[in-house]
Amino acid sequence: MAGDLRITVNGKQHRVDTSDDTPLLYVLRNELQLNGPRFGCGLSQCGACTVHLNGDAVRSCVTPVSAAVGGAVTTLEGLGTVEKPHPLQQAFLEEQAVQCGYCINGIIMTAAALLTKNPRATESQIRSALAGNLCRCGTHMRILRAVRRVARA
């Protein structure tokens, strides 16, 4: 079904002309020109495309855009900016918890959703929450330190 869909992303309403079943990821990237969520696998296996839908971390590569109609989508860009970073973004800077950074979107978005629900998450809870987010550079130790830094704050 093609249609004129209204979605709210990072607090702003957008009208997009696409079919209902288009994955949200392509709408965010190609219609709204957002770069935070990234294509990694299209299979919900790696987490690179993670965004928040009504506060929950979801995989935008397998979420049809129609599922976002009437809801609120937040991307990495909506979480914070270089000038006003989210505490997690700041913590990743402090710990220098990035190598190539392609996975970092999904990791920050997943961790942010976790800490909203469980602000004092333990090391093992953080590890479990990130179990579905893959990082190939092996930046895991720094990433865990960065998330713990916020969980302890």
């Binding site: 696409t18 288009t22 994955p23 392509y26 990237r29 190609n30 020109q33 957002l34 770069n35 935070g36 990234r38 294509f39 990694g40 696998c41 299209g42 299979l43 296996q45 790696c46 690179a48 991307t75 990495l76 860009e77 979480l79 914070g80 900016t81 270089v82 000038e83 970073p85 973004q89 990743f92 800077l93 220098q96 990035v98 190598q99 190539c100 950074g101 392609y102 996975c103 970092i104 979107n105 920050i108 093992s124 953080i126 590890r127 479990s128 990130l130 179990a131 579905g132 987010n133 893959l134 990082c135 190939r136 550079c137 092996g138 930046t139 895991h140 130790m141 720094r142 990433i143 865990l144």
Partner: protein
């Protein structure tokens, strides 16, 4: 032809932090630095090829090396800022653009700082000397009386007499050769090199504003996807264009030889069309069964090369008190970037512009020129950072795909590989077999060593050949010729053994398309050498650390082994500490040592593992690394690289093996090729850095990776008494090995 800036990096004020701003290519932003120069104007012996100082005092480094996620743009900027005596925050870097940067070949082999750094440092020193000479004339004082502080030259003892770099040369060219005679700053005076300067790319990477090649958008750009053959070597039977005729936004089905692709206006529709397109293939002779992999390698015709042959190995073995023999096997593994390869190409009759995450913009340019039958001067390759690659993955191939599709439609085309493209078709790190025999004398000393590695070449990089690009192979380009590279890396152990022979047996056909994966053959060879050293230590009833140390003569080698033993709190013991086989979880500890390429960084690693006897599951609990790569440019960046090497190579050692059937690769996603996850990474990784400011800086991206598989294998042997001679150490394999005890 599009010649826009892909990224313009500027400094924004704010808390002293370096902030990176970008303009996308479609916005055609004005440059803040001198504009694109023609390639002919970029000889490596001219300062202007490397450096420019703007009227605003910013320093731009034009760098042929590229950022692959390892932090080199920060480290190289530190080197320039140091040599030029400017604040680090004044630095801007332009990387890997055949229209604007010198040709520094590929960014590979842990050589960016080691080999790419020195010419940049020389150019900066020459620039500083030129500026001092200009300042001398300007201020009327001899150059020896001048000092520089953050780009301001002043007279010693009279700071009222001063002039800035930008006043002296801002916006103008140096017009001066890099003579290599300019004095280099003494390391004792370093204030920027050696400091853990924060990486310039991270603010944008954590806020979603970093420009990856996946984010390049060119006006009027279409989306392409490639339809790969049903089997390796399959020949195209036919394409039923009618099967996608009714699909929305499809622009064209492109066929060239066995290369098939679709172009659509919208990305999701290109994906749907590629999946819906009916293509028939003639299947070739199937690949050998995976169970026959090792025999296939051992039985392949080989070209033999003696790497070492000293003393009398046969007599040494014949006279030894004990002779040991072992065969080690290392499977195909993949780079497995999290972001599949991507490129944008704009191919017009009069020229082509390609945005790519390539490791080698210049060699890719000549390969694309060959593919497109265009003069190289008409092809511009612009590097834009991609997802980390860890070697030669699909980045160059995606550029070739985009180029063929763009030429066919006459418009810019973006191609991003799907996950199955990346897993299935990226060049793999090739499988290898290593066989070793050694003799011990009555005192437990190794008196003879005979080592053979069976390996294909580990490099099929573009190298100017269209046949090294997947699209080129499919489109019928001449078969590429590639020299034997990398399989013999670290084949020679680092120990002093009187009689030794090390032989490489190179074979031509690696079954699966292969190329450089982090460390090339060095992790495999080090796995064999360092596992076998442990087996010898066991036979000699010696402590593995002491056993190594008494066979090492190089003081730097001994120093890193001693440093890791101290860091880990190593308790001397015979190897292995005997454990009762049976139930529960047992802990073991192993060590491995390597000097990268037998010439560069020294690394010693200790791994602590827990082995579950019931399930065979191995958990690497703690890892300790001692690392000596000469001068350290950025200690935090170095730690990040070492930690990454440890985690990635634990993944390779415990989990990774590319599977295939008669048609091709069957590891096509993250379920069929699992990598290490957050719950599985170690509790901690501890690192001891040994700094030698007086020595050259050596590469650090790969050396640690060499040591990890053997350290883990040795720890498993320590925990269980069972030796694993085939990677990966999966639970099934460990359980099976334990059941044979």
């Amino acid at each position: 032809m599009v010649t826009a800036e892909v990224s313009r990096r500027t400094f924004l004020k704010g808390g002293g932090a370096l902030v990176v701003a970008f303009s996308l290519p479609s916005e055609l932003a004005a440059q803040s630095v001198p504009p694109a120069r023609s390639v002919k104007a970029l000889p490596a012996d001219q300062i202007d090829s490397w450096l420019a100082i703007g009227q605003d005092g910013r320093v731009t480094l034009y760098c042929g090396k590229v950022e692959l996620g390892t932090g080199v743009e920060t480290a190289l900027s530190q080197i320039v800022a140091e040599e030029l005596d400017v604040d680090f925050r004044r630095m801007t870097i332009v990387q890997g653009d055949t229209g604007r940067t010198p040709d520094q070949g590929y960014t590979v082999g842990s050589k960016t700082i080691q080999v790419g750094g020195p010419p940049i440092r020389q150019a900066a020193a020459e620039a500083r000397q030129t500026l001092l000479s200009l300042a001398s004339s300007h201020l009327g004082e001899p150059a020896e009386q001048l000092v520089v502080r953050d780009g301001v030259v002043s007279v010693k003892g009279d700071s009222t007499k001063q002039v800035s770099y930008e006043r002296l040369i801002g916006g103008r060219r140096f017009e001066r050769a890099v003579t290599k005679n300019a004095p280099l700053k003494a390391p004792g005076r370093y204030s920027i090199v050696g400091k853990p300067v924060r990486r310039v790319d991270i603010p944008a990477k954590v806020t979603g504003t970093h420009v990856y090649v996946q984010n390049v958008r060119v006006r009027g750009m279409l989306h392409g996807r490639v339809v790969r053959p049903s089997a390796i070597g399959a020949v195209l039977g036919g394409v039923d264009e009618a099967s996608v005729a009714g699909m929305p936004s499809v622009v064209k089905v492109v066929t060239q030889g066995n290369f098939v692709g679709v172009v659509a206006e919208r990305e999701e529709q290109a994906i749907q069309a590629a999946s819906a397109l009916k293509v028939t293939w003639q299947t070739p002779r199937p690949l050998p069964a995976m169970t026959a992999l090792w025999d296939t390698i051992r039985d392949a015709p080989t070209t033999e090369k003696a790497l070492v042959n000293t003393g009398d190995v046969d007599a040494g073995l014949a006279g030894a008190a004990r002779v040991l023999h072992a065969t080690y096997r290392y499977p195909f593994q993949m780079h497995a970037a999290i972001g599949p390869s991507c490129a944008v190409a704009d191919v017009r009759p009069d020229g082509a512009t390609v945005w790519s995450g390539t490791q080698g913009p210049y060699p890719l340019r000549t390969s694309l020129a060959s593919l497109l039958a265009m003069p190289a001067e008409q092809v511009r390759v612009i590097f834009v950072e991609a997802s980390g690659c860890y070697g030669h993955n699909g980045a160059d191939d995606a550029a070739a795909d985009a180029a063929l599709l763009s030429r066919a439609v006459g418009k810019p085309v973006r191609v991003q590989w799907m996950r199955y493209d990346e897993h299935g078709w990226e060049p793999k790190g090739p499988a290898m077999v290593m066989e070793v025999r050694a003799g011990l004398d009555g005192g437990g000393n190794v008196v003879a060593w005979d080592y053979t590695v069976w390996t294909p070449t580990h490099s099929t990089r573009p190298d100017g050949q269209a046949g090294n690009l997947l699209a080129g192979q499919l489109a019928g380009a001449a078969q590429a010729k590639n020299p034997f590279i990398g399989g013999d890396r670290n084949a020679r152990h680092p120990y002093v053994i009187k009689n030794e022979r090390v032989t490489a047996r190179w074979f031509a056909a690696p079954l699966l398309r292969s190329s450089a994966l982090r460390g090339l053959g060095a992790p495999q060879n080090t796995y064999a050498n360092e596992s076998f050293m442990d087996e010898l230590a066991t036979t000699a009833a010696a402590d593995p650390v002491q056993f190594r140390q008494r066979h090492l003569s190089d003081p730097q080698a001994n120093a890193v082994v001693a440093a890791v033993a101290k860091l880990a709190g190593w308790v001397p013991r015979p190897a292995p500490s005997k454990r009762p086989p049976g139930s529960g979880v047992s802990r073991g500890r192993g060590i491995a040592f390597a000097q990268y390429e037998n010439a560069f960084a020294y690394v010693a690693t200790v791994a602590d593992v827990d082995v579950n006897h019931a399930t065979g599951e191995v958990r690497v609990a703690r890892v300790f690394v001692a690392h000596d790569c000469g001068l350290i440019v950025n200690p935090d960046g170095l730690r990040n690289q070492i930690e990454g090497s440890v985690v990635q190579t634990i993944s390779r050692a415990l989990k990774e093996e590319v599977t295939f059937d008669g048609s091709g690769v069957t590891s096509v996603d993250w379920r069929s090729y699992p990598i290490l996850t957050f719950p599985e990474v170690p509790e901690r990784i501890e690192i001891a850095l040994i700094n030698h400011p007086e020595r050259p800086a050596l590469g650090a991206g790969e050396p640690t990776a060499c040591t990890v598989p053997a350290a883990i294998g040795n720890a498993i042997a320590d925990a269980t008494g069972v030796r694993l001679r085939t990677v990966p150490f999966t639970a099934e394999r460990v359980k099976e090995a334990l059941s044979r005890v």
